[in-house]
């Protein structure tokens, strides 16, 4: 196959922010995840945990808790506001000041008719959920001390509220506090410190389970207000609680990074009637605070300060091994944060608060495979562009010539002209953008840099013509399907004729940019596309989906190619299908039209379409074997998927015009190093 020169880039200091809250919608199987920077991510658990949507954060927004009401998503935070999100435009629909000081928690009753929030000023406020908004209804009896956590009784007539040193039970119809459960303080030095009841759950049999800052999980009888059982699970804080749908299991998250499961079971086989809450399992998949938890049908989902989302399957719920029964850690976003100017050898890194433009280094001479080449020129950071305003950057683009740069926030789009002569770089903002260009979900430049495409609301695409003097709105490309979902992928062809978009409804539209009209719709496949690209010579569209399926569609002939049909008929290798991170980039080798380049977090792959497809018996990862074989023996062992795992924690792979590869790695260890120190845990004899 051949040798490649690889720019191994590790200077992208991508740093995900900590997970603060999560809410699982069992009906739609979507998990909403709130991060410290105020961004919200939606994962589709029915589609291999694909990160379907990202609502960018905002400086002033904070998220303490998230809550689904039907298909509507609400958040509340320490800024004192309740926010409802528009999941189609990916922006807050409205925010409402609750006038109770910082809000610690938000939760809806099981009927979905009311929201309750817990405020710093000691009030529990009820809001009625209306069709288009929410409306303040009343306060429950005001208490001294903040309301940290809330849980509705499934009947909706009572609410348990976790406070400082106590739990209150409110009767909702009258608003009166009917029970006061006193929570003990910790031992020793922490005796003088107030105990914070970080989390409560209220079960249908009126059992209340609480987790607090003294490290206790306590089981209470809500009828009598008596303590049934105390489990001391950590020396630090118990931060999060989540109960399974059938109320037979509760998971708690602690500051030590452990998730501990309690189950409502009989302690001995003989007495099946006398069930009690028994500590059963401990999972340690985090290094820091577990701030958010959800127990779903077959797994425990957890997240916290160490920024990763962990899906820990409950193996007793599975009959056979499958991708769903494997532990999943979601560390990287399922979309691109790195853009490469192939002609100019520039890299653009997207951060929530800034953009960085780098020029790659150079080397001279050649080397054997495995060698590191001496550097003639080091990589250079050309530009550090801070965003304007409070809104975080949601997308950006760099033209392949390196002459244009654009980014968008929720409220504005900015376009810059870049000029580089040798070592000098000058940047100028393009003034007076068309008014219609207010924000974009995705941006991309045409390969000749004459056009900017901006994905707008309802899956439409704005076409903007660029020239030295001005930039002009040309047309809006609209899909025929009438989908309201946002576009999350956009790519165009090298010849400038075609533009393909993919939205969260899994629809892929192909537009003819020259005629400014819709060309065709690719047959909808049940899993969301995670990456796609248009071949530079054949104009075939290659799509990779979240479930790891690969399709190739001929745009000219409006049908799947023979290779794609062959691949589907034979089926992909199980080892390919079992991978647990989605492919996030598809690109091609103009010098060798048979090659498709893909990557996910853990591997880089070149598919050679001229070679036979591997069947299930074929050794799939065969590079080591091939290396050991002689030239003569090799051809009989070759197959189409050439997978390289030398590079790990990959954020981006691209092929420059000079045939060298750019691999952007972000070692997880480097992320861990930047996290604050975890709680001190005494190791034996240290």
């Amino acid at each position: 196959m051949g040798e490649f020169k690889v720019h191994r880039v590790r200077f992208f200091d991508y740093m995900p922010t900590a997970i603060r809250a999560m809410a699982f919608n069992a009906h739609t199987e979507r998990l909403a995840l709130g991060r410290m920077d105020g961004s919200v991510e939606i994962f589709n658990f029915a589609d291999r945990y694909f990160q379907e949507k990202v609502i960018p954060g905002k400086d002033s927004r904070s998220i303490e808790a998230l809550c689904w009401v039907g298909g509507r998503l609400f958040s509340a935070g320490l800024n004192g506001e309740i926010t409802e999100y528009d999941l189609e435009t990916l922006r807050p629909k409205y925010s409402l000041e609750a006038y109770g000081g910082p809000i610690w928690t938000i939760t809806s009753n099981s009927q979905g008719a009311h929201l309750a929030i817990g405020c710093e000023d000691g009030t529990v406020k009820l809001f009625e959920v209306l069709e288009e908004s929410i409306q303040f209804e009343r306060n429950l009896d005001r208490q001294k001390g903040r309301i940290i956590s809330l849980s509705w009784h499934p009947s909706g007539t009572q609410i348990a509220a976790g406070m400082m040193d106590m739990i209150r039970v409110f009767d909702v119809p009258t608003g009166r506090a009917v029970q006061r459960l006193l929570v003990d303080r910790g031992f020793g030095g922490s005796k003088s410190r107030e105990t914070v009841v970080w989390s409560v759950v209220f079960l249908s049999d009126c059992t209340i389970i609480s987790g607090d800052s003294a490290g206790k999980v306590q089981v209470w009888d809500g009828h009598t207000g008596t303590l049934v059982k105390t489990h001391l699970v950590t020396k630090w804080d118990v931060l999060a609680l989540s109960v399974s749908k059938d109320e037979s299991s509760v998971v708690v998250g602690t500051s030590e990074g452990t998730v501990i499961q309690f189950q409502f079971i009989a302690p001995t086989l003989q007495q099946q009637q006398d069930k009690e809450w028994v500590r059963t399992r401990t999972f340690k998949n985090h290094t820091h605070d577990v701030r958010a938890l959800a127990e779903i049908e077959t797994a425990i989902v957890s997240g916290g300060m160490d920024t990763q989302l962990v899906v820990r399957p409950l193996l007793e719920k599975f009959d056979e091994r499958s991708h769903a029964s494997a532990l999943r850690k979601i560390q990287f976003p399922h979309r691109n944060l790195v853009f490469c100017a192939k002609k100019a050898g520039l890299l653009l890194f997207q951060f929530p608060g800034q953009l960085e433009l780098w020029r790659l280094g150079e080397s001279d001479g050649h080397g054997k495979p495995g060698d590191s080449l001496p550097l003639k020129r080091k990589p250079e950071k050309l530009l550090h562009l801070k965003r304007k305003g409070e809104d975080h950057i949601c997308c950006s683009a760099l033209s392949s010539c390196g002459g244009w740069l654009a980014y968008s926030t929720m409220s504005s789009v900015r376009l810059y002209r870049l000029q580089t002569d040798n070592n000098d770089i000058s940047i100028s903002k393009v003034p007076k953008l068309p008014k219609i260009l207010r924000s974009a979900h995705q941006l991309c430049f045409s390969s000749d840099s004459s056009k900017l495409f901006a994905a707008s609301s309802q899956s439409s695409v704005l076409v903007i013509a660029l020239s030295q003097s001005e930039c002009k709105y040309v047309h809006t490309l609209k899909p025929k399907s009438g989908s309201r979902q946002p576009i999350h992928l956009m790519t165009n062809s090298v010849d400038g004729k075609w533009l393909a978009t993919a939205n969260s409804d899994c629809e892929i539209h192909v537009y003819n940019v020259q005629k400014l009209k819709l060309h065709c719709i690719v047959p909808v496949y049940g899993s969301c596309p995670s990456a796609m690209g248009i071949h530079p010579t054949t104009n075939n569209l290659t799509m990779v989906h979240a479930d790891q399926q690969i399709f190739e569609y001929s745009i000219v002939e409006k049908q799947y190619t023979d290779w794609s049909r062959k691949l589907q008929k034979q089926g992909l290798h199980n080892l390919w299908l079992d991978r647990d991170t989605p492919v996030t980039h598809v690109t091609f080798n103009p010098k060798n039209p048979e090659q498709i380049l893909l990557h996910d977090m853990h591997m880089f792959c070149i598919i050679d379409q001229s070679l036979p497809l591997p069947d299930q018996k074929t050794q799939f990862y065969n590079q080591m074997t091939l290396r050991s074989l002689s030239e003569q023996e090799r051809p009989s062992h070759l197959h189409a998927f050439k997978i390289c795992k030398t590079f790990q924690d990959l954020l981006s792979v691209s092929l420059l015009d000079d045939q060298s590869l750019v691999m952007v790695e972000r070692p997880l260890l480097a992320i861990t190093c930047q996290l604050p120190a975890p709680v001190r845990q005494k190791k034996f004899a240290t």
Partner: protein, 627 residues
């Protein structure tokens, strides 16, 4: 872990004419857990206080009348009920003195049994299969009783079970060699009939036992070939299914019965993991000897054993035995593999090692005789048939040894397992009968096949001890995975070896038996342990591992156990003083060493982690090659 405690005799029995018939018709519970109602085979009902072995009351029917069903206690009315001459039901209270003056009623059909259970009403089962509640029967004693069973179908066994407010009467019948199970539900009344699978030999089940577990009725039954089967009937079974259903069964246990068959035997489920079996003849014992054992069915291990069962209530087994009725308390703990098998052999001692070592011992003890003949017989006779060779029964020691040698070298693995066990049992049984006969060579050869374990032939090790055959004892200790702690201690009393220390054991079971050792024995043993410990710790680096030597951990474990068992005695014994202070200073030094090690543990771990890692910079240009 099941343990049988020491039994005691509740009362004497009148010997009946036939050996297999019991002199007791039935034993039932009274309202008090310590009371038992014993009905003998003729005319008397006696109430005993079990713990005091004292009769509290006795009632008899007149001469000429016969009790035909064991007396039962009615938990609701605190009355006793018995049936005499098949048709007369008698009801009396504890304070009634004379049974003749008690209430009686004559019913229109022959009664098989009256059944009682706490929480349920009394139920009368008639010989033709009809079932009535006692109350409704007594209100109209002469009511017509229908016949359920067909001609020549007879009830063999019956019981009743109360579950979740549901009352069941279970009974099995036999008709022309076929066996059926009837499940009669009361209120509403439904009857379900199941056919038991036929055993290949066509034999009839020797005993049945039913218990309720997880909303299922578990039926346990034992065949003369030693197979204990279990069938499960759902409490909320299919209602209204007509006809006879086949009852699937699963094999819970296969008792080693040798080539013979069990003459009379009975099996009772104690809990989900344990089955008590009583029967005769014992496969490894002389004929005519009977036995009681508790088997763990999960792991198929023998848990406790003494000789002879019949009834089991509230942690006690009632066993008519010879001329007496014995009561044997037992205890079944929740079992895990570890508790069933005891502390495992130390992993450091691989089985392969010991098997390599044995032949050398053999040559050492038996001179330079060649390892047995290894010719392979062409006509592959089944080893099982060879077992019956005459020399084994009567021949002299040398001939037996040759036969065994030939047999062992020719059998294939599958057959060997079975035949070796039988052979060993036969030889041991013969040695026990003929005091002059003892075949150490043959027995050793059998043990060396590694197909034998203690459960298969429990008398072997004791026999070897009796004959002071230490070579065989050592072999057994090395190769048997399941030697009971009591036997280990018995070995310990006769000799101290490396092998004893390496036998598997469970701490909590061993300690009581260790207490049987006397002070001088303990001191000697401790001294020995200290000696080998010191020897080890001195040349721990220079020493090459010696085969079958105990590990440090095993030595320390034994020291701890001995001290646990005898600490008070040792403290008082003057000659143990030096030893104890030595041990104490040794422990002190160990604690100090470990605390020092603990302090540098972190650093040591870091050293371990320091792998030469490739320095990866922020940026490099590399060349890769794909094939």
């Amino acid at each position: 872990m099941a343990t049988l405690f020491e039994g005691f005799t509740l009362c004497g029995l009148v010997q009946t004419s036939s050996a297999s018939d019991s002199a007791i018709q039935g034993i039932e519970l009274d309202g008090d857990s310590d009371h038992a109602v014993v009905t003998d085979s003729t005319r008397a009902v006696t109430l005993y206080k079990v713990s005091d072995q004292k009769p509290l009351g006795s009632w008899t029917v007149k001469q000429g009348q016969l009790l035909t069903c064991p007396a039962v206690f009615n938990f609701q009315t605190k009355e006793y009920v018995v049936v005499s001459d098949n048709k007369v039901i008698r009801v009396w209270k504890e304070e009634d003195l004379n049974l003749d003056k008690a209430f009686k009623a004559t019913v229109s059909a022959d009664v098989w049994r009256v059944h009682s259970a706490p929480g349920g009403e009394l139920v009368v089962l008639f010989q033709r299969g009809a079932v009535r509640l006692l109350d409704s029967l007594l209100s109209a004693p002469q009511q017509p009783i229908e016949g359920i069973l067909s001609e020549k179908e007879v009830i063999r066994w019956s019981t009743n079970i109360v579950a979740e407010k549901q009352h069941f009467v279970l009974f099995t019948t036999e008709q022309r060699g076929e066996h059926f199970l009837y499940v009669q539900r009361l209120n509403p009344n439904t009857l379900q009939k199941y056919r038991l699978e036929r055993e290949d030999s066509g034999a009839s089940p020797l005993s049945f036992s039913a218990s309720l577990r997880d909303k299922h009725i578990n039926l346990l039954y034992l065949y003369p070939n030693g197979c204990v089967y279990q069938s499960v009937v759902a409490v909320r079974g299919p209602v209204g299914l007509e006809g006879v259903q086949a009852l699937p069964r699963s094999l819970r246990l296969r008792l080693p019965v040798g080539e013979g068959e069990l003459g009379a035997a009975s099996a009772v489920a104690l809990d989900e993991a344990h089955v008590a079996v009583v029967g005769m003849p014992h496969p490894s014992a002389r004929t005519g000897k009977d036995f009681l054992c508790i088997w763990n069915t999960n792991f198929q291990t023998l848990q406790a054993e003494i000789l002879r069962i019949v009834w089991c209530y509230l942690g006690k087994l009632f066993v008519p035995h010879g001329k007496a009725l014995s009561v044997i308390p037992y205890e079944c703990q929740k079992s895990s593999l570890a508790s069933a098998l005891g502390k495992l052999r130390h992993p450091g001692i691989a089985v392969s090692k010991s098997s390599v070592a044995i032949p050398s011992w053999n040559t050492l003890l038996h001179g330079d005789q060649p390892q047995g003949p290894t010719k392979i017989v062409d006509t592959r006779k089944s080893v099982l048939t060879v077992v019956h060779l005459q020399p084994l029964q009567t021949g002299p020691v040398e001939e037996v040894r040759r036969e065994v040698e030939a047999l062992v070298s020719r059998g294939d693995a599958q057959d060997l397992q079975l035949s070796v066990g039988r052979l060993a049992c036969q030889l041991v049984a013969r040695s026990q009968v003929e005091t002059a006969f003892y075949a150490p060579g043959a027995l050793a050869r059998l043990v060396q096949t590694q197909c034998l374990c203690h459960s298969m032939c429990p008398d072997l090790l004791l026999l070897a001890l009796e004959h002071k055959d230490y070579f065989l004892c050592q072999l057994c200790l090395q190769l048997f995975p399941d030697i009971p702690e009591v036997v280990t201690c018995a070995c310990l009393k006769t000799f101290i070896g490396n092998e004893v220390l390496q036998t598997p054991y469970s701490d909590n079971l061993l300690v009581p038996h260790l207490k049987d050792l006397n002070a001088p024995q303990v001191i000697l043993f401790l001294q020995y342990l200290q000696f080998i410990y010191l020897k080890y710790s001195q040349d721990v680096y220079t020493q090459t591992p010696v085969l079958r030597s105990p590990t440090m951990t095993q030595i320390i474990d034994w020291v701890c156990l001995l001290l646990d068992a005898h600490f008070t005695v040792l403290v008082m014994a003057p000659d143990a003083k030096g030893l104890l202070s030595n041990l104490q200073s040794f422990v002190k030094s160990q604690v100090k060493l470990f605390s020092e090690l603990g302090k540098i543990e972190g650093s040591l771990q870091e050293l371990h982690k320091m792998k030469p890692s490739k320095d990866i910079s922020q940026y490099s240009i590399e060349v890769i090659e794909l094939f």
